[in-house]
């Protein structure tokens, strides 16, 4: 019996049917059909959510042109022009229709400040990807190792230390951790006599030098925000991994495997770890989609103009086109990562053949 029992719930709440007996990992055609089915199912979800968010943002009660109106000297004609350009003079349903029609053809419209939303989104997503991708990979690997070792050496000094550290980082406000890390980074720079750690943005503007210089600069900028994300993410994920691993290690089939005389290494990696990864995969898939939607605090504190900041800025001025674009991307990311998680279940547990 697997860690979740027969027929558990996966990340998306879809019941999985587990077939007894070992079999090949999901067949190629199965994967394709499964993927297509899931994608088709996600279309109405995205459509419904886009409609709800559009209506909520558009009818929130504020005035997207308030900033313009407050400025001295802006003529009524100019304000009226902007109102028409942004379709603010039309009913909400018609506005949604215009947006949806454009979105289908790849035109995400223009922001209140007249920027191309598609271009804006690509730029911001790129920034967030650079920030969170490496941090997530490192955090996952560390969480798996620490969680697994903690489980294997339950109640050891390492377990206590890891548990303590996890709870400290888990409960620590991100902005505070970031501020502490910045301070430590500056002190380290002073001690080293050279700038290794950077506290703002993605790179030094107009950096000159060879390949190594440029990459050292980029990595230097990535260190502190990544470390912030790694510590916070790893803290939670390692607890999942520890709990999951403990459950698996106490399962009957592990005892059976040991009784069969399998080596500890085979039992650990092929039977225990593999099954214990399933809950972590679920959590990481959901969390990663959320982080990609915006590590808002980390982005803000470290001055990275990513997706999180984009959303906060857009909500502040009721920039409905930008909020919609953000929603589209994050919704697609959520769908995609849940899909990846489901496929990974199949790989990790061959009994899961199809959803």
């Amino acid at each position: 019996m697997g860690p979740q029992g027969d027929g558990g719930l996966n990340a998306t709440g879809v019941t999985t049917r587990r077939l007894s007996g070992a079999g090949p990992v999901i067949l190629g055609s199965d994967v394709l059909a499964f993927t297509l089915r899931r994608l088709v199912v996600s279309i109405p979800v995205v459509l419904a959510s886009s409609f709800i968010v559009f209506v909520l943002v558009a009818t929130a009660g504020g005035d997207p042109l308030a900033d313009l109106r407050l400025r001295p000297g802006v003529s009524e004609a100019t304000i009226e022009l902007r109102r028409q350009e942004l379709n603010l003079d039309k009913p909400v349903l018609e506005r949604y229709g215009i947006w949806a029609k454009g979105a289908v053809t790849g035109d995400l419209g223009r922001s209140i400040r007249n920027e191309d939303v598609g271009e804006l989104l690509v730029r911001r997503l790129g920034v967030t990807m650079r920030l969170v991708l490496s941090a997530t990979i490192i955090a996952v690997l560390l969480a798996i190792v620490i969680g697994s070792v903690s489980a294997l050496k339950q109640y050891s000094k390492f377990d206590y230390a890891a548990t303590f550290a996890s709870f400290v980082f888990f409960s620590m406000p991100v902005f505070w951790l970031a501020a502490v890390l910045k301070d430590v980074g500056i002190r380290a720079n002073d001690a080293l006599g050279r700038k290794v750690f950077f506290t703002v943005s993605e790179q030094t503007p107009n950096q000159v030098g060879g390949f190594l210089t440029i990459w050292a600069d980029r990595i230097g900028h990535l260190l502190l925000p990544s470390l912030t994300l790694i510590l916070i993410s790893m803290a939670g994920w390692s607890r999942y991994q520890r709990g999951s691993m403990l459950e698996v290690l106490n399962a009957d089939y592990i005892r059976t495997a040991k009784a069969k005389g399998l080596s500890g290494r085979v039992v650990l990696f092929r039977h225990a770890l593999r099954n214990a990864l399933i809950p972590v995969v679920t959590v990481v898939a959901i969390d990663f989609a959320a982080i990609l939607g915006g590590a808002v605090v980390t982005e803000t504190v470290f001055g990275w103009a990513g997706m999180g900041r984009l959303l906060v800025e857009a909500l502040g001025v009721q920039d409905v086109n930008v909020v919609q674009a953000w929603l589209l991307v994050t919704a697609m990311v959520v769908v995609l990562f849940n899909l990846i998680a489901d496929i990974l279940y199949g790989y990790l547990d061959p009994r899961i053949r199809r959803g």
Binding site: G61, G62, D63, A66, L68, R69, L70, R71, P72, G73, V74, S75, A77, T78, I79, E80, L81, R82, Q84, S111, R113, N114, E115, R123, R124, V127, A179, K182, D183, G185, I186, N189, K195, F197, F198, T199, V200, S201, E202, Q203, T204, P205, N206, T300, V301, F302, G303, A305, R309
Partner: protein
């Protein structure tokens, strides 16, 4: 030929006073001040770069469009595109190297002003900066073209121009005729004497010779790049979302700047600016002043920090539509009851011991013409306050609040919330007036309501906010106190004040103008349409001490006003 004497006005598109942008409800308004410091010129070496932490990023480079009318962009564009006058820290103005000299009033009737462009002034493509550039600015911002209309024909020039988005038409909408005498000389006729003409063309203007034929033209043609420069620097690179880098313009005819490059790094969160400065990732910052941020910066080694008085001033407004507040003695009682010095001590002194009460509505203390009036109300006096109320027939009720019949002196005091500074101020005022026998009911509002909306609908009894800008004292005074002005929120009306404002509007002599304005302020102290409280700091200027010759300028020109003389100290490594 008629000429004004020494000019006293601020340059900029803010021809009229504006509501403090930051008044829209953030901690940004918290602040205090120290005296303006003007550093002595120090020897610097040529070369090097300086990075500034910019909080806003533009979407394009035409600062005159409503979409990109941002202060941070003006900091950039003042280095690139030409403009007419420079406002100095003492609020005096002088022509920029774009002009050949002072603009001159050539006729009183019709009121006509002539500008001469520097013969050396040239765009970076070697095309001269000409009357055409100024004319394009005029046509785009005279308010005669509806931005919603695809095209219109200018009556004077006969030129066809497309709908134009201009952030401010103030001043240029008073012009009746634009005449190009030659490529380097032009004049404008006004419908009425317009003595604050030096404020015109105060924002960097785009090149007409390529702009007119550019796809998108005035409105969006410069979104990707300013294309050309006629300033000390030119655009080197715009890394969207990250930085804007300027490099020296080899065609610049003015004083050669010392620094090779100026970098505007996009760092919207001011709380990160001190650490970035400490880590030498930026070398100059100018966040809105906040006590904790100021303390943090002050502790940094190798950093100079100062907060200076700005043109924004806080005040308490009365609504004359409230019959009780229309009674002069009631307003007097409030004025006597306020301990304005205590408000300064509590709210402004944490920044600087030099913070002080503001006793004028027409000049701020930075200006030489500033005169303190309203001595009567300088010191708090509960006795005088209650005496004024009794004189008007009010009697103290059992609850300690004065009333006349059923009319009890109980007023709604409003501010835009959240705003910790003003909310603290409200409590202080409430306590002070309770002692007098006037009940204050705090009734704040939040976004999406705005100061402009609450003010224009008159939905208040007492109201605290700040006016900012004061680029031109006359325009500002007219806007706040003229009986027919939309921004006269309290609906104060005095025909004598209206007449005095009208008279000063056509007074050319600077000294006479200042005297007349000070007279108006004395009249306002008599009537008490509002009570000025104190000036607020413009921002917190902090920079690495490796650099020299950086001085603050709290006018709309900003602290970059003298960036050509900035440089690395000759002794710096």
């Amino acid at each position: 030929m008629v000429r004004g004497s020494r000019r006293k006005a601020l340059i900029g598109s803010l021809l009229v006073l504006s509501l403090v942008a930051a008044a829209c409800g953030s901690d940004d308004d918290e602040g205090g001040t120290t005296a303006t410091s003007v550093g002595e010129a120090e020897e610097v070496k040529d070369g090097g770069t300086i990075s500034y932490a910019a909080e806003q990023e533009p979407t394009g480079f035409n600062n005159l469009t409503s979409k990109d009318n941002l202060l941070e962009l003006r900091h950039v564009m003042r280095h690139i595109w030409p403009y007419a006058y420079l406002a100095k820290p003492d609020f005096s103005v002088e022509p920029t190297p774009t002009l050949a000299g002072e603009a001159e009033v050539t006729s009183q009737s019709p009121f006509t002003v002539q500008w001469k462009i520097n013969p050396k002034a040239v765009w970076s493509d070697d095309v001269p900066v000409s009357s055409d550039d100024f004319e394009w600015n005029y046509l785009s911002c005279n308010g005669k073209v509806d931005p919603g209309e695809p095209t219109a024909v200018d009556e004077d020039s006969g030129e066809t121009i497309s709908g134009l988005d201009c952030a401010s038409t103030s001043g240029l909408d008073q012009v009746t005729k634009f005449t190009k005498a030659d490529p380097k000389t032009f004049s404008m006729e006004f419908e009425a004497p317009y003595v604050e003409y030096e404020g015109l063309f105060g924002d960097p203007m785009p090149p007409a010779h390529i702009g007119k034929t550019l796809p998108g033209g005035w409105n969006t043609g410069f979104d990707a790049s300013p294309l050309l420069s006629a300033g000390p620097y030119q655009l080197k690179e715009w890394d969207k979302g990250a930085s804007i880098t300027l490099e020296r313009n080899p065609k610049w005819w003015g004083p050669k700047p010392h620094l090779d490059t100026i970098v505007f790094r996009q760092l919207p969160d001011p709380s990160g600016h001190p650490t970035a400065l400490d880590n030498d990732e930026v070398q100059i910052i100018y966040p809105q002043p906040q006590v904790d941020l100021f303390d943090k910066v002050r502790q940094l080694d190798g950093v100079h920090a100062e907060a200076n008085f700005g043109p924004a001033w806080e005040h308490l407004d009365f609504n004359f539509k409230n019959p009780l507040l229309a009674v002069k003695e009631v307003r007097q009682a409030v004025a006597y009851g306020l301990d304005r010095d205590r408000y300064v001590d509590t709210l402004m002194k944490p920044f600087s011991d030099k913070a002080s009460r503001l006793d004028s509505r027409v000049f701020v203390s930075n200006q030489a013409e500033y005169e303190a009036h309203g001595e009567e109300y300088a010191t708090r006096s509960v006795e005088k306050a209650t005496a004024a109320l009794k004189k008007a027939g009010f009697a103290k009720g059992a609850d300690g609040i004065y009333a006349k019949g059923a009319d009890k002196l109980s007023f709604r005091l409003r501010v835009l919330s959240p705003n910790p500074l003003r909310e603290q101020l409200q409590e202080l005022i409430k306590d002070d007036l309770k002692e007098v026998g006037i009940d204050i009911r705090i009734d704040n509002f939040s976004a999406p309501d705005s100061i402009g909306k609450i003010g224009s609908t008159g939905d208040f009894d007492l109201f605290i906010f700040a006016w900012i800008g004061t680029p031109f004292e006359i325009s500002g005074t007219q806007q706040i106190f003229a009986s027919d002005s939309d921004s006269n929120f309290g609906k104060y009306a005095n025909k004598k004040v209206d007449a005095a404002i009208k008279k000063v509007s056509s007074t050319l002599d600077e000294a006479d103008r200042a005297a007349e304005l000070n007279k108006i302020d004395e009249m306002l102290w008599e009537d008490l349409p509002n009570i000025p409280l104190f000036q607020k700091p413009a921002g917190l200027l902090a920079y690495s001490t490796k650099y020299a010759n950086i001085t603050d300028n709290t006018t709309s020109e900003g602290f970059f006003w003298d960036s050509s003389s900035w440089g690395l100290k000759a002794t710096a490594g």
